[in-house]
């Protein structure tokens, strides 16, 4: 065989192997989490808060952490939308095409997107100290909002950007103002907004480093914004570092719960973005 052919076959083989390793690692992770977690899972986990002696292996569940995570995720996503939708509309409707301000803003959000959550957590902590806040649901929501704003802006910007310019031209030619045109564009990108929202859910619910500093940890379900709250990633983290096998087992079950939630969210996000591409005008 020709030397060039051998080289081609060799590298093609390597590529197959690399792809198998990468996809295989996903299945390996999922398999580990499911097999370990399923074994330790029971319905008390998702229906009860920790009872006395929970951390030495006695009864109870992690409902406090599940509810806490949901509060933080939903709260920060709503707050994040209120801030990021105007940003996206400003970039796409009000600023001129190819303006320096718009491209600098996009660059800034790309950079913010890359800032790790531990830095947001530390920053959130300095804000808390500055304003004299204690670790609380509110502080957690604010910090996670900072974390997901870049995600929301980038994801929605991608969708609003590709809306055909004929649509806004049609609105303008009917005499609409920019604000009225923005509302038309917003309506057109609802599925994209939902996808962005789901993406930010997935990131917010799985993030531990942000809430570590700001939301605290408690065995109760918070009843006001000023109380601390438990979160799922931290529940996993703390239980795994326990020396008691029963408590570690619970960490596996909690990891399974978190993984299932995140998988459902990502599949829903895929579904909505597909639906969006079908409705393209």
């Amino acid at each position: 065989m020709n030397k060039r052919k051998i080289e081609e076959t060799f590298f093609k083989g390597l590529m197959h192997a690399a792809t198998i390793v990468i996809v295989g690692s996903l299945f390996l992770i999922l398999w580990t989490v499911v097999s370990k977690g399923f074994h330790a899972f029971n319905w008390d986990m998702v229906s009860k808060v920790p009872e006395g002696g929970f951390y030495i292996g006695k009864g109870g569940g992690i409902l406090n952490a599940i509810i806490g995570s949901v509060y933080i995720t939903v709260g920060s996503a709503l707050l994040g939308l209120v801030i990021s939708i105007p940003v996206v509309l400003y970039l796409n409707v009000y600023s001129k095409k190819g303006s320096r301000f718009a491209s600098a803003t996009r660059l800034a959000f790309d950079v913010l997107f890359g800032i790790p959550s531990i830095v947001y957590g530390a920053f959130g902590f300095t804000i808390m100290v500055f304003f004299g806040l204690k670790t609380s649901l509110l502080a957690g929501i604010i910090t996670v909002t900072l974390l997901i704003i870049p995600i929301l802006v980038r994801a929605m910007d991608e969708v609003v950007r590709v809306i055909p310019f004929e649509l806004s031209d049609a609105a303008y030619s009917l005499g609409a103002t920019r604000w009225e045109t923005a509302k038309v564009l917003l309506r057109q990108s609802v599925p994209g907004i939902i996808t962005a929202l789901l993406l930010s859910f997935g990131r917010a619910i799985g993030d531990a480093a942000c809430v570590l500093f700001t939301a605290g940890y408690t065995d109760n379900i918070p009843t006001s914004l000023h109380q601390p709250t438990a979160t799922l990633p931290l529940a996993i983290f703390f239980q795994l570092s326990s020396p008691i096998p029963e408590v570690q087992e619970r960490a596996y079950a909690a990891a399974l719960i978190l993984t299932v939630i995140v998988l459902i969210i990502s599949i829903a996000a895929k579904y909505f973005s597909k639906k969006f591409s079908k409705n393209k005008i």
């Binding site: 690399a18 660059l107 890359g114």
Partner: protein, 296 residues
Amino acid sequence: MNIRIVKDKAVKNIFLLLTVSSVLLVVLIFIGLYYKSVPILHSTSLSHLLFSSEWKPSKAQFGFAAFIAGTLWVTLIAIVIALPLSLLCAIYLSQYAPRRLTRFLNPLIDLLSGIPPVVYGVWGVLVVVPFIQEHVAPHFVEYSSGYSVLAGGVVLAIMIFPLIINILGEVFANVPKELSEASLSIGATQWQTIKYVLLKKSRPGIVAAVVLAISRAFGETIAVLMVCGNIPESPHSVFDSCYPLPALIANNYGEMMSVPLYDSALMFAALILFVIIFLFNAGSRIILNRLERRMN
């Protein structure tokens, strides 16, 4: 003036205000962290902070060298593992794989990026750490607990696969088709075309992808914290434990308010992370934007 126009102007100003203030977050993070690190910068010189490995918070000795070394080691291992694999995978997906297969594989790779860091950590503790302890380390060193630089590197490598593959996919898509076609038409094999045309043309993009991956690896906290042992000494081999900067910040948030200067030292650690990651991100994004603009 017409009420609609007034409304339009008002909305414009509110939107502009929100846009500017959210961009200013970058500056605000820097100022906030710097403000908190001023006390430690006053008490200890910058070079001592960065190059001394004396870490005794109770005696007000804060030297970050061991933690910086830990971060660099883990990141290096992660990139060494992730780059060749992701590069090969990205080439395969963009050049060889039939469309139906890419449509099946891309969502799976996206799923990999959706898995929360803490779940990677659990997996690392359950699978990677024991595997290194029992099957890998005994061939090289006398004893390793498995909680090591290597474990952190492996877990991180898997976490940055999707990032590198996605960016490389975009970079490859931006290489003009005509170039590859010209190469194929003069008789080059597909691999030769990839080697001499595709990879050559996308070199800046590959560099940018690697830099982005490095900055992601730098900042990853929980997953690495769970598997790398957290012993504040510079590692001597990949089987030694290490203690990266983000892990240091996350592990000590509880006690930092009770020791003087401790909180300031940890915020300084966050500032180091922020500055490095900011520079890396901005640089690579500018390269990537330029590549995209050249294509359009």
